[in-house]
Amino acid sequence: MRRSMLFLPGNTPNIIINGDALGADAVILDLEDAVSPSEKDAARILVRNAIQIMKFENCEVIVRINSLDSEYWKSDLDEIVPLKPDLIMPPKICCAADVQGIDSYISELESKFGLENNTVKVIPLIETALGVENAFQIATASSRVSALFLGGEDLTADLRCKRTKEGNEIDYARKRLVCAARAAGIDVYDTPFTDVNDDEWIYTDAEYAKSLGFTGKSSISPRHVAAINEVFSPSQKDIDYAYEVMEAIRTAKEQGRGAIALHGKMIDAPIVARAKQTIAMAEELSLMGGGRNE
């Protein structure tokens, strides 16, 4: 379960050391934008050592490597792949060939370090207009791709428009990515809300992402994590309804009825599937009887 993903600069030991205490379901240790060229080596070594030494028991570890057009991405993978992070995030992925290039190099490393093929999964960061248009091809380019990730900042630079709090300029990209990922049967994660001093709008932004179908949302501020987790957790109302659905199904089966209605509405397969997802998530979050208030 990944509701929240938190970016942590790869060159800040005092922050990384507390990465697993910040409440995020996943931390993204960043070797790319947060790290200046003169510190790339140091950050790579620090992130490698942190993954080796720290247990990160409460969260997944994702490493954002440098982009394919840089001189660093292979060195990043050389150090990180043997440690089997939960995910590798390659940035600025524009097409299926980008993914296949990374896939092929990771396969080489898996073989070199005696890892089973396809152990290390990737979450392509889509942050260009071309990437958005090729989203489905990217999502299906390799079996390593386990989710898509939208990067709104670089995307708006590429679109030559201003990034706004409301986010109308990335609306198309958000919807396109959700559709592509779902069509490919994988998860999809929303771009961070970057005003770190705004502790209110993060709720609005996360609610909107959830309403579009995003699996979760990323953040560059630890202070936004709780809001994201709250929004992407099932509410008590959701949980109660899911149980009602499952109970209605059970009763209908006992009575040998085919068509099932609840509160005057037909219950079909997608509703049952969603109810099962909600219950599974609530159980994982230990939310039974104490879900998010609405």
Partner: protein, 471 residues
């Protein structure tokens, strides 16, 4: 006599009969903006008086000239409840011939009243006074709010000199210390620098680790069994403690809990809680910011209390005796829950108990909030460098990676576990801390004792030694 005004400070000192070897006292309500301690000691030095004991409720970096007076034998001994880092560092290097005596904010008035630390002349810096010595901290350009720590000095010193920069007509309305205790009044241009006296507005932390600990601290209180109507609470002015108060306020308002009183050094956040209906009253021994000063001046439910009333163990009763929950800090805490707030991990003095061990001893729930590491040093250790508050008085430690409950308080541990809070053994927290920082080399103590840590019942809790030159 129709007034007690004396023309100059020197004249007042002469009239007080101050002589070699006597004890002078000061309060610390003007904090790092205080001019009075330095002004008096400079005058005393000019009068060639030697071998004084200085009993100050706290000392700040602005009082650094005191060290020079010690070197020149004007000052022989220091008694205080707290000293900030610059003075502490020099004391740790052994500049004083006699050991500093650290007491607590409750222990100090107790020792004064019991005659253990008698005061010959008390110098009371007063933001407002009339000609007969009725004085208060609530008005004037140097307003500091409560004068709580000055009461025992005024009520017990052989001579009392009020020094003010705001002489008002007699009778001063709404006085704190009445004229009955005051011998002389001296008017000066300024008793302090307002910017160092109180901060504009105390802000809660934006540090994510601090916020995580604060949220968990509020949840500990929520599930402690103590958060119900009549609840009473004290917290410090540190960022994480204030954030905990903010989260607690949210919980109290949501659950419609009406507390009885908020206690201690008071900040704007506690004032907000009072105004929001979380408490019936605030009992204020010291104001930390302008919001608190304004509130104590204008809201009758925000009451000034003396240090004795706050925390004296020898009073017939003190407010701390009725306190439910206190949130405190620590520079170190060990696996026996002993807390250090006197020194840093290298052994340099940089603080003091203040009301730490008074509130910890009496509150039903004493909570420490501290991160597992600071500046690459583990905060949870095998043994603290100095015992400021004994572990028997601490119930719970909240860190960013778990909450440790003192095994003495089994019921609390059970309650917190049932509420789903991340309760872990304190030894496990020590292991995690050392996993982050490594195990530091054992600290070498210097050969000379430089300070005594005296518990609120006058027993010796610990001795602080000089720091070796090699550090």
């Amino acid at each position: 006599m129709n007034n007690k005004i004396v023309r100059t400070l020197r004249e007042a000192i002469e009239l007080s009969g101050l002589k070699d070897g006597m004890t002078v006292s000061f309060h610390h309500h003007l904090r790092n903006g205080d001019y009075i301690l330095n002004m008096v000691m400079e005058e005393v030095a000019a009068m060639n008086i030697k071998g004084l004991t200085v009993n100050a409720s706290s000392l700040f970096d602005t009082h650094l000239p005191l060290i020079e007076h010690a070197r020149n034998h004007v000052v022989r001994k220091i008694q205080t409840d707290y000293m900030s880092g610059a003075i502490g560092r020099l004391i740790s290097q052994g500049v004083m011939e006699e050991q500093v005596e650290f007491r607590t904010h409750g222990g100090r008035p107790s020792a004064i009243e019991l005659g253990i630390t008698p005061i010959d002349v008390a110098f009371i810096a007063a933001p407002a006074s009339d000609s007969m010595g009725n004085c208060t901290g609530k008005y004037g350009k140097s307003a500091c709010g409560s004068l709580g720590y000055a009461f025992p000095d005024a009520m017990n010193a052989k001579k009392v000199i009020v020094i003010t920069d705001n002489l008002m007509s007699y009778p001063l309305p709404d006085w704190s210390i009445p004229e009955t205790y005051v011998d002389y009044v001296v008017e000066v241009d300024a008793i302090g620098n307002p910017s160092g006296i109180v901060s504009g507005t105390t802000k809660i932390t934006r540090d994510p680790i601090g916020l995580i600990m604060a949220r968990d601290a509020a949840r500990v209180i929520q599930h402690s069994g103590l958060l119900k109507d009549g609840f009473s609470f004290q917290t410090g002015a540190g960022g994480a403690s204030l954030a905990a108060a903010k989260f607690l306020k949210d919980i109290m308002l949501k659950e419609k809990i009406k507390g009885s009183f908020g206690l201690g050094g008071i900040t704007g956040y506690m004032v907000d809680m009072l105004n929001a209906g979380c408490f019936e009253s605030l009992l204020d021994v010291q104001c930390f910011d302008l919001d608190a000063v304004e509130s104590i001046r204008s809201n009758p439910r925000h009451q000034e209390i003396s240090a004795t009333h706050y925390a004296s163990p020898s009073a017939r009763s003190a407010v701390v005796d009725c306190l439910d929950v206190v949130i405190l800090g620590a520079t170190e805490i060990d696996t026996g829950f002993n807390v250090n707030v006197h020194t840093d991990s290298n052994g340099y003095i940089m603080g003091g108990s203040g009301g730490h061990s008074d509130t910890a001893a009496e509150a039903k729930l004493s909570m420490i909030i501290a991160p597992l590491s600071r500046a690459r040093l583990p905060i949870v250790t095998e043994q603290v460098t100095c015992i400021s508050t004994p572990g028997k008085d601490i119930d719970v430690l909240v860190t960013q990676k778990g909450i440790a409950v003192n095994p003495r308080n089994k019921e609390l541990g059970q309650r917190l576990k049932e509420a789903g809070l991340p309760v872990v053994d304190i030894c496990e927290l020590k292991k995690i801390a050392e996993g982050m920082t490594g195990v530091p080399r054992k600290l070498k103590k210097g050969g000379r004792p430089v300070a005594k840590v005296i518990y609120r019942d006058e027993t010796l809790l610990d001795t602080i030694y000089s720091v070796p030159d090699t550090l």
